[in-house]
Amino acid sequence: MSESKPRLIREDGLRVDGRKPEDLRPIRMEIEVLKNANGSALVEYGGTKVIAAVYGPREATPKAVQLPDRAVLRVRYHMAPFSTSEHKSPAPTRREIELSKVIREALEAVVFTDQFPRASIDVFIEVLQADGGTRTAGLTAASLALADAGIPMRDLVAGVAVGKVDGVIVLDINELEDEFGEADMPLGYAAGVGEIVLLQLNGVLTPEEFKKAVELGRRGAERIYAQMKETLHKKYLAILES
């Protein structure tokens, strides 16, 4: 692997795609992209493109999944077969099942599920194009879609991945940096309440690097969080002014 490993930090200190270590990729967000869903959002982090749809609160079926004191939150993270350069089997993989779980737990931390006992809130996250950071883009999209659906929640959640490439801690890593970097740390941050709701780490970081990475991730997530709020605000401002 080391022989074919490309250089991830250029001589001028910039990354492969010309970003500085603390730069995000260009981010685009849009809500209300699907008509049939109660809420939906499309989020792009550079080449990563994710769509999220929220249905509910609705009657939870089958009845066995109903919870007597709160709504059940069901999250399905899925990568479209055409999202990667090589065809991906549409069947859910181990990885997708795990990511569905961690995203669900991140959202459960902010959604007031106790308001709808016995109901279900279903979140579908579909990765249309994968270029690193799909789970964090998915988390951002899901959070926007939940807000769009009018589901009561404590705060919005912004997702961003921090990584270590060629010994440098960098923000919002892409596919190449994920594949050949030393560490990948996705982070979900509810910036309004200041809580980290998702944190995973793949690779090795020293305690100092870890602290630096968390701090960098939080600052990046705050920028994404501000853009999320802006996206929501703009949507209805357009209607108000029409």
Binding site: A71, A119, D148, M153, L232, L240
Partner: protein, 238 residues
């Protein structure tokens, strides 16, 4: 309770936005007020939903842009018959919970041996009903006993988002009065996002539908009542 406001009336707010701070000694801790769509944390009043703030003297709440209908006791709703049991109907009231209408409520001296529920209310038919009981542990129970309640056999049904209902009624019924007086339609507003109208002719029904759809699309515009008034006058004349 003294409030220091951060938002103006009719301002767009998002989940987590701080609306106001309570300027008082003593920490309120964490508290939620679901019907107002706000929560309190350390004397900060925050929104829990994406909508517009409604600020009045010493009171603050958020009206969501989108929401599902959450049943409440005493609400008048329009339901669609979805299933027929031996002693009750299953009714879809566009909420996360299925509603039930007991046969004994609709049929006098009901006996499942003699009465066939299908001949009274069939699947797909609509009823105007009132919720008599609902809580967190029980599905809503409906009644059609009462003035004006019962099976809907004439008129038009207009579907809107449930969160638009307060706007269709308006402050002290202003919008409702405007719509009914200008179009001469008889109108019933159901809390779960349905409007039932009986109009003198088809054209007036169409105009009313358009007016209501207009409210559905942009409910938070200032001076909407005036806009609707102009729209109705243009279509129907003076």
């Amino acid at each position: 309770m003294k409030l220091k406001l951060y938002v103006a009336d009719r301002q767009i707010v998002r989940p987590g936005d701080t609306l106001a701070v309570i300027e008082e000694d003593g920490n309120q801790g964490f508290k939620r007020i679901p019907e107002k769509h706000i929560y309190l944390v350390d004397n900060n009043i925050c929104s829990d939903v994406f909508g517009v703030a409604s600020v009045s003297e010493n009171d603050i709440s958020v009206i969501p842009f989108n929401s599902v209908y959450y049943p409440r006791k005493e609400d008048v709703v329009i339901g669609i018959i979805e299933g027929i049991g031996v002693t009750s109907w299953e009714v879809d009231i566009r909420s996360p919970y299925k509603a039930y209408l007991n046969a004994s409520d609709a049929i006098e001296n009901f006996n499942p041996l003699y009465h066939d529920l299908k001949s009274y209310l069939d699947i797909g038919e609509m009823v105007l009903a009132k919720i008599v009981a609902f809580d967190r542990t029980r599905d809503p129970l409906l009644t059609i006993k009462g003035k004006g309640l019962g099976k809907i056999i004439e008129g038009i049904i207009i579907e809107v988002k449930p969160s638009r209902i307060p706007r269709i009624i308006g402050k002290k019924g202003s919008m409702f009065n405007l719509l009914t007086s200008k179009t001469n339609c008889e109108m019933t507003v159901a809390q779960n996002g349905f409007v039932w109208a009986k109009c003198p002719d088809e054209y007036r029904g169409e105009v009313l539908t358009q007016a209501i759809k207009l409210i559905d699309e942009k409910p938070h515009v200032r001076g909407l009542t005036e806009e609707i008034k102009q729209f109705l006058e243009k279509k129907l004349g003076g």
